[in-house]
Symmetry: C2
Subunit: 260 residues, 2 copies
C-alpha cells in the first residue's frame, strides 16, 4: 500500500512544485519505488516541469473529482518516459473544480476515495498543491498520510507554515484524519544572505523543533534551468548542488517515514 | 476620481506583493498622490510587509464583501504612519469569503461597488491579488481600470501571463468591462542568469510587444530584507537597486497611465 504525501504551503513560489518533481525523480531513478505524482494545482506545473517526458491520459482530474459516482484516478494517470514515474495530466479546469466541489457532501474526501485503487499500484504517491488552503489542498491533505512543507527564507513563507499546520490540526480534529507532518524543508536558501537564513532557520527550529528537516535546498540555477528545459534535474545536471540536495532529501525522508 | 490598478499574476512568488507595496510607497513618498492599497489576498502580506507602519481598522474586507447591503470599503481602511499611504487590514478570513461569494448574484462586482466612494478620497488605488484566478482576483479585475502583471524569469511565470491576459479578455467580453493592461513587469531578474533572462524576456517581447515595460526589477536582497523588517524599501535602504527600480517603475507607469 502506497505512502501518500502532500507537498503543501500557502505561500507562493517557495518550491512546492520543484520539490515534488525532484523528490519524485530522485526516488524514481533509484529504481526502488514506483512513483505517482498527482498534480492538483490548476496551473499544471508538474507537467510543465517535465514537459519533455509527458504523454496523454484518457481522463482529467476534473473528470475524476466531479464524477457522479466514485472514479479511479488511474484513468487520469499516464506513465512518463522516465522509469518508475507516472503523473496525472495538467488540468487547468481544476480552478473551476475547486469552486464546484464546494457544495458537495463530503467534498474533502473525494480525492481520498479516488486513489484507493491506485495505492496498490504504486509505492509512493506525491501530491503537488496550489498556493492556497482551498478545496484542492484540503482534498490532498485528507488523501495523504504525510505532508511535507517547503519554506523559503522569507518572513512571509515562515508565517505561512503556521497557517498550514493549523489547517493540518483542523483536518485531523474535524475530519478524523491522522495526517502526520513529515517535515518542514528549507528551500531556495541563498548562501550569501546569512543573516536572514539564520533568522528564519532559527525561528523554524525554535517553533517546530524536530519537524525541521536537516536537508537544506540551496538556490541553484540548475534547478530553474532544468524546469525551463522540461527535464528532471537528474537528466539535466545530475552533478549540480540542486540534484544532490534533492537526493539528500529523498534519503532523509526515507529514514523518517520508514520507507522501503 | 482615483485610478484603480490590480497587481495580478497566477504564478506564486513572482513579486505581486513586493511590487504593490513598493510602487505604493514610491508614489506616496513623492507626495503627489494619496494612495490606497487594498489587500485582497487572504495571506495579508501587504500588512506583513509594512508591519512597522500598521494601525487597526474598524471593519475587515470580509465584513465589506459579504454584507447584505453594499458597504463602503473605507470602513476597512486605515491610514499608515507613512504620509499619503492607507491600507486595508490583513484579513485571513478572505479565504472563506472567496468560497462564500461564489453563490451571490453579481459576485464579480462586489468590490467595484464597495470602492465607489473611496475613489473620491484617493488618487491611486492598488489591489494586491492572491496567486490564483478565483473570485477575489476576479473582483479586483472588475473593480480596476488597469492591471499590472509581474512576471519573473521562469517558464512557469511566463505561461501564467497568458492565462491572466485570457482572464482579462473574458472579463471585458462577458462582464462588459474596459480593463486595460498597464503593462507586464519583469521582476526578480538575476543579472547572472543571462540565458534565461534573454529567453524569457525575448518571449515576452515577441508575444506582448509594447505591453512589456522597460523597467526591470533586479534581484536585490534589500527588498527581501525590507520586507522582513516590515518597512518600505525607501525607509529601509533608499539607495538600493530595488528602491531605484521601483522608483523607475512608478515613473514609467505615470507616463503610460497619464497620471498627475
Ligand atoms: N532551489 C532553487 N534554486 C533555484 N531556483 C529555484 C529553486 N527552487 C525553486 N526555484 C525556482 O523558483 C520558482 C518557484 O518555484 P516553484 O514553482 O517550484 O514554487 P511553488 O511553490 O510550486 O510555486 P506556486 O506557489 O506557484 O505553486 C520556479 O521558477 C523554480 O524554478
Ligand atoms: N526583486 C527582488 N529581489 C529580491 N527578493 C525579492 C524580489 N521581489 C520579491 N522578492 C522576495 O521574493 C518573495 C516573493 O515575493 P512576493 O511575496 O512579493 O511575491 P508574490 O507574487 O506576492 O507571492 P504570492 O504569490 O505568495 O502572493 C518574497 O520573499 C520577497 O521578499
Ligand atoms: Mg507549484
Ligand atoms: Mg503576494
Amino acid at each position: 500500500r502506497a505512502l501518500v504525501m502532500a507537498i503543501a504551503a500557502q505561500k507562493g513560489g517557495v518550491g512546492k512544485t520543484t520539490t515534488t518533481v525532484n523528490l519524485a525523480c530522485a526516488w524514481a531513478k533509484q529504481s526502488k519505488y514506483r512513483i505517482l505524482v498527482i498534480d492538483i494545482d490548476p496551473q499544471g506545473h508538474v507537467s510543465s516541469s517535465l514537459r519533455e517526458n509527458i504523454k496523454p491520459a484518457s481522463s482529467t482530474l476534473t473528470d475524476i473529482l466531479l464524477a457522479e459516482r466514485p472514479r479511479d484516478i488511474l484513468d487520469a494517470v499516464f506513465q512518463t518516459n522516465l522509469p518508475n514515474l507516472s503523473l496525472t495530466a495538467a488540468d487547468k479546469g481544476l480552478a473551476e473544480t475547486d469552486a464546484q466541489m464546494a457544495s458537495r457532501v463530503g467534498r474533502e474526501y473525494i480525492l481520498k476515495s479516488a486513489i484507493a485503487n491506485a495505492r496498490s499500484h504504486f509505492d509512493i504517491i506525491l501530491i503537488d498543491c496550489p498556493p492556497n488552503l482551498g478545496n484542492l489542498t484540503l482534498n490532498a491533505l485528507v488523501a495523504a498520510d504525510h505532508v511535507l512543507v517547503p519554506c523559503d527564507m522569507s518572513i512571509l513563507a515562515f508565517e505561512g507554515v503556521a497557517d498550514l499546520l493549523g489547517t493540518v490540526r483542523t483536518v485531523n480534529l474535524r475530519l478524523g484524519q491522522n495526517l502526520d507532518v513529515a517535515g518542514i524543508i528549507r528551500t531556495r536558501v541563498d548562501g550569501r544572505t546569512r543573516q536572514i537564513n539564520d533568522a528564519i532557520g532559527g525561528a523554524l527550529r525554535d517553533n517546530y523543533g524536530d519537524l525541521l528537516l536537516d536537508t537544506i535546498i540551496p538556490i541553484n540555477s540548475a534547478l530553474a534551468k532544468a524546469q525551463a528545459a522540461g527535464l528532471s534535474i537528474f537528466e539535466f545536471q545530475a552533478r549540480s548542488r540542486g540534484a544532490e540536495a534533492y537526493l539528500d532529501l529523498s534519503n532523509e525522508l526515507e529514514g523518517r517515514l520508514s520507507l522501503g
